[in-house]
């Protein structure tokens, strides 16, 4: 009896030897691709400007006598405390640059894969959906942490060096935890936010616009609503991504929230975005494209 033998390919029935960090090649590629973009390096470098300014302020705060004439007695306004670190991490300019970094480095993370139908190429390898998503998220973790947590820790160390004692550590024992906590919130939120939008379109140019638009629009909307009598109130801050981050930061740094609404609501809103993102990502990321 004649048989037709399968010649083209063979089913692999060996044992799956999982890599320890299967998501790492995805992350590395994402980071490398971002740095290949011509303007990215400038924008990313600009992200360190707030840290440099803050470092100068820390230096001045430790050498107030030398700068007395320059500040005309207002030098004592520079007090390095948890609020000082919170102001650095929630600085509008820094958050704006982080959003620009997301536009550059994050918009195409999934959109480009969807466009080139390359999800099946990923999943033809010993890679799970979670590894893929973690790999993509880690790109954003890398950039956002490098602009927030890393400079904040460096600033903390410099504060100790300039002060020449550990008094600051004793005075604010929880500060490093607050810094790490808020950096983590910022990073995780922006990772989910960017990947959610990146997974919604195959067109990375469009995603770039949307990543920027949603962030900015939430702020403009807050500005508009807050300016209208009858509509304004502390709760209106909840429509703005930035204001929610401020609320969360105030809570984590033990400060008075800028808006008279419980920071738990802001936590809840940011978490809701993350959950929505996880649901969408779970639906959109699959090896086979479904055409409707």
């Amino acid at each position: 009896m004649a048989t037709i033998r399968e010649k083209g390919y063979y089913h692999w029935d060996g044992r799956l030897e999982a890599r320890r960090f299967p998501w790492w090649p995805i992350t590395r590629t994402g980071i490398q691709l971002a740095f290949k973009k011509k303007w990215f390096k400038f924008v990313f470098a600009a992200g360190f400007a707030p840290a440099v300014v803050t470092l100068v302020l820390i230096y001045i705060s430790e050498r107030l006598e030398d700068f007395k004439s320059m500040f005309g007695g207002k030098g004592q306004l520079i007090t390095v405390n948890p609020k000082f670190f919170m102001d650095f991490l929630t600085n509008g300019g820094l958050v704006f640059i982080i959003v620009m970094v997301l536009v550059f480095a994050g918009a195409g993370l999934i959109a480009d894969d969807l466009k080139h139908n390359s999800l099946q190429v990923y999943f033809a390898r010993p890679l799970r959906k979670n590894d893929y998503l973690l790999g993509k998220m880690a790109v954003i973790f890398f950039f956002v942490l490098l602009l927030t947590l890393v400079p904040a820790i460096v600033l903390y160390i410099f504060k100790l060096i300039f002060a020449g004692s550990f008094r600051f550590v004793v005075d604010y024992p929880w500060l490093l935890l607050s810094v790490a906590g808020f950096s983590a919130v910022l990073t995780v939120f922006f990772a989910f936010y960017t990947l959610l939008l990146s997974a919604l379109s195959k067109n990375s140019r469009y995603v770039m616009i949307i990543v920027f638009t949603v962030y900015l629009f939430s702020q403009i909307l807050y500005g508009i609503i807050n300016s209208i009598r009858g509509l304004h109130g502390p709760g209106t801050a909840l429509v703005s991504i930035y204001e929610n981050l401020l609320q969360v930061a105030a809570f984590l740094f033990g400060q008075k929230p800028p808006h008279a609404v419980h920071p738990g609501w802001s936590f809840l809103i940011l978490a809701a975005v993350c959950v929505a993102s996880a649901v969408v990502l779970n639906r959109k990321i699959r090896g086979v494209e479904v055409i409707r």
């Binding site: 303007w39 629009f217 009598r229």
Partner: protein, 269 residues
């Protein structure tokens, strides 16, 4: 093969007309347009809310529209729309690799550029006008019999139309030679345009938004409670502002046509 062998000649005007028709139709069909239309619905929702909550305070309503909702239109909506559609004129053909379908037709390249520019500007103008009209007339629903109301509306629409023409021309020009025009566009539209208004003297005249703000029909009283939009404005006269915006549009469209005609575009592999 049963096909008829007639090849009609296509003039520049006809090129523009046909490209306009094709892309006006195509633009309406994309999901992206629907998202931008939805975005335009936000001021309408706000207008409805304001009408409900601020019923009876007529002065406030007019001020809310001219100095608060117009912030949305002038500094955000038309800039985002122009940035996306303006850079799309060339970028979408390159990203989608569809440019040969256009450049292998008997259409002049200037005609293709102008046709797409006209199509997308018209599409945006429709979106903006619809949103503007709804929010404006909802806010001013209590004085619909006032003829001045319609004149003011036309002025607002004209200002936004001029803004769309100028911004789209500029962003379309960027898109003809920059691979990632959107990034530079974002920096220009939301960085430069905002920062420069804090500069003294004539510096703010190096932004497009300055001329648009100068043309807005309702100028606020200095230090008034609604100074959000016209903050630190040192207005240019209306004629000079219109001429400046028109000139910016014409110059950048002409430059865009020239670059598109002379540059050869390679697709990214």
């Amino acid at each position: 093969m049963e096909t008829k062998g007639r090849t009609p000649a296509v003039s520049l005007a006809a090129s523009v007309r046909e490209v306009f028709g094709f892309f006006f139709f195509l633009g309406r069909r994309t999901g992206k347009t629907r998202v931008f239309v939805l975005l335009g619905g936000i001021p309408v929702v706000i207008a409805v809310l304001v009408r409900i909550l601020a019923a009876g305070r007529a002065d406030d309503l007019a001020a809310v529209f001219s100095e608060i909702l117009m912030v949305f239109f002038v500094t955000f909506y038309i800039v985002i729309l122009s940035l996306f559609y303006g850079t799309s004129i060339v970028a979408e053909e390159l990203e989608g690799r569809t440019l040969p379908y256009l450049t292998s037709r008997p259409l002049s390249k200037a005609g293709i550029f102008l046709g797409k520019y006209a199509a997308y500007t018209s599409l945006m103008f429709l979106m903006v006008t619809a949103s503007l009209a709804l929010s404006y007339f909802i806010m001013n629903g209590h004085r619909l019999a006032d003829a001045g109301l319609y004149l003011t509306f036309l002025k607002y629409a004209a200002v936004l139309g001029l803004g769309l023409l100028a911004y789209t021309a500029f962003f379309a020009f960027l898109g003809t030679f920059l691979k990632r025009a959107i990034l530079l566009g974002l920096m220009f539209g939301f960085g430069w345009e905002n920062v420069i208004q804090y500069f003294p003297g004539s510096t703010q005249k190096f932004s497009l938004v300055h001329y648009l703000k100068s043309l807005l029909p309702r100028q606020p009283a200095a230090g008034g409670k609604f100074s959000l939009l016209l903050f630190r404005l040192e207005p240019t006269g209306p004629v000079a502002a219109v001429v400046s915006l028109a000139l910016i549009a014409v110059v950048f469209v002409a430059l865009g046509c020239w670059v598109f005609r002379t540059k050869e575009y390679l697709f990214e592999e």
